[in-house]
């Protein structure tokens, strides 16, 4: 499997001198070409930091991130980021929010309309094109955020706890939609979550990060456990009762918990 993203000695320290906080210690890792990678880890361990470095919004203190062999020097539409709080433009309609990235990158009008319409359809937003974000429910706003990123056909899709604000039902629906859109598009996905079940259900591999300064503690290969038919291709409800799924969920959860407990002892 070829790598889309490679981390080479990436670390991050905020501030200087006495007030310096090391958020991320040297990280080396590779993400597969069309891999669905989930990241779990204790709060404050540097997950968001890693994601923002990958997006090019933050410059790492040491090391570099390579995207298809080229160093990441700044943000751009090939590395779409979905924020936890949606971050939609409140003064733009659903349509204009989704179209924004295409328009500023000079995609011509006909092509734009076609692509925006496609993702509006895929995310089930048809009929709401002229609505403003404040007129939508949280779940629908999250769909707009997803569509706004997907429509760019990014090389990697970076998601920072994208479903944390959703209720259980909406979360399940969004997971299914995400998998459906991703399987059409086949970008690499780097997805942060606090929900261990979500991680095991969606991932090709789950990365467990250690407490701050975070680094990759353990990599759990979900694909190896599921075999050919991946869990995410079936409803979560059916999968959740399978012994192998439960076993893996426990394993990830224990790994995360040991980081939280040692943290509290310290």
């Amino acid at each position: 499997m070829s790598n889309s993203i490679v981390y080479r000695d990436v670390s991050m320290t905020f501030g200087r001198g006495a007030s310096a906080v090391q958020a991320l210690s040297a990280t080396n890792f590779g993400i597969g070409d069309q891999e669905f990678l989930m990241i779990v880890g204790p709060s404050g361990c540097g997950k968001s930091t890693l994601l923002h470095i990958t997006a090019g919004l933050l410059r790492p203190s040491t090391g570099e991130v390579l995207l298809d062999g080229k160093p990441v020097t700044g943000p751009g539409p090939d590395k779409a980021l979905v924020f936890q709080n949606f971050s939609l433009f409140p003064w733009k309609t659903v349509w204009d929010n989704i179209e924004f990235g295409l328009r500023i990158n000079g995609v011509d009008r006909a092509d734009r309309s076609e692509r925006v319409a496609k993702y509006i359809r895929l995310t089930g937003l048809a009929g709401f094109e002229r609505h403003y974000p404040r007129q939508l429910s949280g779940g629908m706003q999250q769909r707009v955020a997803l569509a706004r990123s997907f429509v760019m056909r990014p090389r990697v899709l970076l998601m920072d706890e994208p479903f944390a604000a959703l209720d259980a039902q909406n979360r399940t629906l969004m997971q299914e939609e995400l998998v459906r859109i991703w399987s059409e598009q086949r970008a690499a996905v780097l997805f942060i979550t606090h929900a261990v079940e979500e991680a095991v259900y969606l991932a090709d591999r789950v990365i467990v990060m250690s407490r701050r300064p975070g680094t990759i503690k353990e990599v759990i290969d979900v694909n190896a456990a599921t075999g050919p038919g991946h869990w995410r291709d079936r409803p979560l409800n059916d999968v959740a009762s399978e012994p192998r799924f439960q076993e893996l969920r426990h394993r990830v959860w224990d790994s995360v918990r040991s980081e939280i407990t040692t943290h509290e002892d310290a």
């Binding site: 919004l57 980021l81 924020f83 709080n85 971050s87 433009f89 003064w91 924004f100 403003y132 404040r134």
Partner: protein, 266 residues
């Protein structure tokens, strides 16, 4: 989540306009009663009716350079000229200062100082540089409205939600696009607040400038006040004052309308 223009909202709006008329009528009656009860000399404080009669007469009989509308138009032109220049310079400069640190450091101390210089203090220089005419008066408006407009544009840009800017950057937006497409829309409420302050200061500064420097042109509402003083016609002075108040108020009403019109997404 709620729609604008509910019955309640409209009632409140209508009531306030009606209320203004009722209250004004009361105070005019009070003014009239005061003169009748205390038998005040009309040269000292004219009757409301005399003021109206004077305004009607001014509307048809020229004073200085022409009848009333010439004076209103003269003041309006100077005001709009100076104000438009202040907007044209202050808004873009404020936005750019809010986005780029270096300009901020270089210019902010200057404006912090200039904003405390009373506009009329510029009159001697304005006359020296431009002569006692349109240029001098427009300059006084310009210099008095620039600081509030610029500072509000600057503050508005500083207050833009950083995650919205980050979202735009990850979609491929460059600094100018971010200022135009994220900065401006999200700063409109603050900006219009600044414009309203600018209108108030500028309009007052204009009248002062016309009284101090307006005799060169023999036109304008400030000039009418001067005429009233020199010819001992208190009704002319008060008539001009009433018009100044009414025009200033209507500018503000127009800006509030604009504010609502451009913010349909709220």
């Amino acid at each position: 989540m709620y729609e604008r223009g509910t019955t309640q909202g409209r009632l409140a709006g209508a009531a306030s306009t009606g209320w203004v008329i009722v209250v004004l009528a009361f105070w005019i009656a009070f003014w009239w009663g005061l003169i009748v009860v205390f038998r005040i000399n009309p040269d000292f404080l004219p009757m409301p009716g005399d003021v109206v009669a004077r305004l009607v007469r001014l509307a048809t009989h020229p004073v200085g350079e022409g009848p009333l509308h010439v004076h209103v138009w003269a003041s309006f032109q100077r005001f709009v000229g100076g104000f438009a220049m202040a907007v044209a310079l202050g808004v873009p400069l404020g936005f750019v200062m809010g986005y780029f640190r270096l300009l901020d450091w270089a210019l902010t101390p200057l404006f912090e100082l200039v904003r405390y210089i009373p506009p009329i203090a510029w009159a001697p220089f304005a006359i020296l540089w431009f002569g006692a005419n349109f240029g001098a008066q427009a300059f006084v408006i310009f210099i008095s409205t620039l600081p509030p407009i610029l500072i509000s544009a600057y503050g508005a840009m500083r207050a833009v939600d950083p995650t919205l800017m980050a979202a735009a950057r990850t979609l491929g937006a460059k600094p100018m696009t971010i200022i135009l497409e994220v900065g401006i829309p999200s700063s409109i409420p603050v900006l219009i607040g600044g414009l309203r302050i600018g209108v108030a200061t500028g309009w007052m500064a204009l009248i002062a400038a016309e009284i101090v420097a307006g005799t060169g042109t023999r036109a304008g509402l400030g000039y009418l006040i001067l005429v009233g003083q020199q010819t001992l016609q208190a009704s002319t002075t008060i008539g001009a004052m009433v018009l100044i108040g009414a025009l200033g108020w209507s500018f503000d009403v127009a800006l509030r309308r604009l504010e609502r019109a451009v913010q349909r997404w709220r």
